[in-house]
C-alpha cells in the first residue's frame, strides 16, 4: 500500500513566520503535488514536481515555494506566512505517466491526510 505521510496534522503559526510543510512517500513515485483545499473552492494545485530538483508552478503558486532534494520528500515553504494562507494542505504522489514510460498513465493520486494550517 502506498503511504504518503505529512509531518503535521495541525499547525498554528504567526503572521510573518517561515513555515515548512513536509511530505514523504514510500513508493518511489516520480510525481509529487501540493494542493490547497478551501470550502467552496475545492482543491487547487500550488506546485508539483516530476523529478528530483524539478518543480513547476500550479494554479496558485504565489506566496509559496517548494523543495525536492530527494525523490521521496517534497516540502512546501511559506516564506512569510499570511492569514490568507490559513487552509488545509494536501500532499499527493503518483507514478510517472509521461509517454514512453512503462506505467499506464491513468494512475490516480495517492494523498496524505492533510495539514490544517492556521496563521494568526
Amino acid at each position: 500500500d502506498v503511504k504518503v505521510t505529512q509531518s503535521s496534522r495541525y499547525l498554528v503559526k504567526r503572521t510573518g513566520e517561515k513555515v515548512f510543510l513536509e511530505c514523504v512517500q514510500d513508493m518511489d513515485h516520480e510525481n509529487m503535488f501540493w494542493y490547497r483545499q478551501d470550502p467552496g473552492l475545492g482543491l487547487r494545485l500550488i506546485y508539483f514536481s516530476y523529478d528530483v530538483k524539478m518543480k513547476e508552478k500550479g494554479d496558485i503558486p504565489e506566496g509559496y515555494s517548494v523543495s525536492r532534494e530527494k525523490k521521496e520528500r517534497f516540502s512546501l515553504i511559506l516564506e512569510s506566512a499570511s492569514t490568507n494562507q490559513t487552509s488545509m494542505y494536501l500532499c499527493a504522489s503518483s507514478l510517472d505517466n509521461r509517454p514512453g514510460t512503462p506505467y499506464n498513465h491513468n494512475s490516480p493520486l495517492h494523498f496524505g491526510n492533510g495539514t490544517r494550517l492556521t496563521v494568526t
Partner: protein, 117 residues
C-alpha cells in the same frame, strides 16, 4: 485550461436510498480521465471510480456508477443503497491522458453528502 464544476454544495439522502451527484467540466482535450474521490471526516482522499473518456461504457464499482455524457461534458455519480459510511465530501476531478500532464488533476468544488439513518 480545464475547469470542473460541481453545482451542489450539499446533498442529503436517507439510508438505503439512491442519490446522484452532478459534475460538469470544460476542456478542449479529446483524451482524458475523469474521477470521483471521496473525503470522509478522516480527511483521507479515496478514489471511488474512474472513467476513461474514450470508453463509451459507464464505469461501475459495486454501489457506485457514473453517467458519462461526453458531448454534454457531464459526469455524474450515482450511489445506490446509500450507507452511513458514504457520508463524506465528494470531489469530481479531470486529468489529461497524455502529453505532459504529469498526473495533474483538476478538481471541482466538492459536494458534501450526508446520509441520514
Amino acid at each position: 485550461a480545464q475547469t470542473v464544476t460541481q453545482s451542489q454544495p450539499e446533498m442529503s439522502v436517507q439510508e438505503a436510498e439512491t442519490v446522484t451527484l452532478s459534475c460538469t467540466y470544460d476542456t478542449s482535450e479529446s483524451n482524458y480521465y475523469l474521477f470521483w474521490y471521496k473525503q470522509p471526516p478522516s480527511r483521507q482522499m479515496i478514489l471511488v471510480i474512474r472513467q476513461e473518456a474514450y470508453k463509451q461504457q459507464n464505469a461501475t464499482e459495486n454501489r457506485f456508477s457514473v453517467n458519462f455524457q461526453k458531448a454534454a461534458k457531464s459526469f455524474s455519480l450515482k450511489i445506490s443503497d446509500s450507507q452511513l459510511g458514504d457520508t463524506a465530501m465528494y470531489f469530481c476531478a479531470f486529468m489529461k491522458r497524455a502529453g505532459t500532464s504529469y498526473g495533474k488533476l483538476t478538481f471541482g468544488q466538492g459536494t458534501i453528502l450526508t446520509v441520514h439513518p
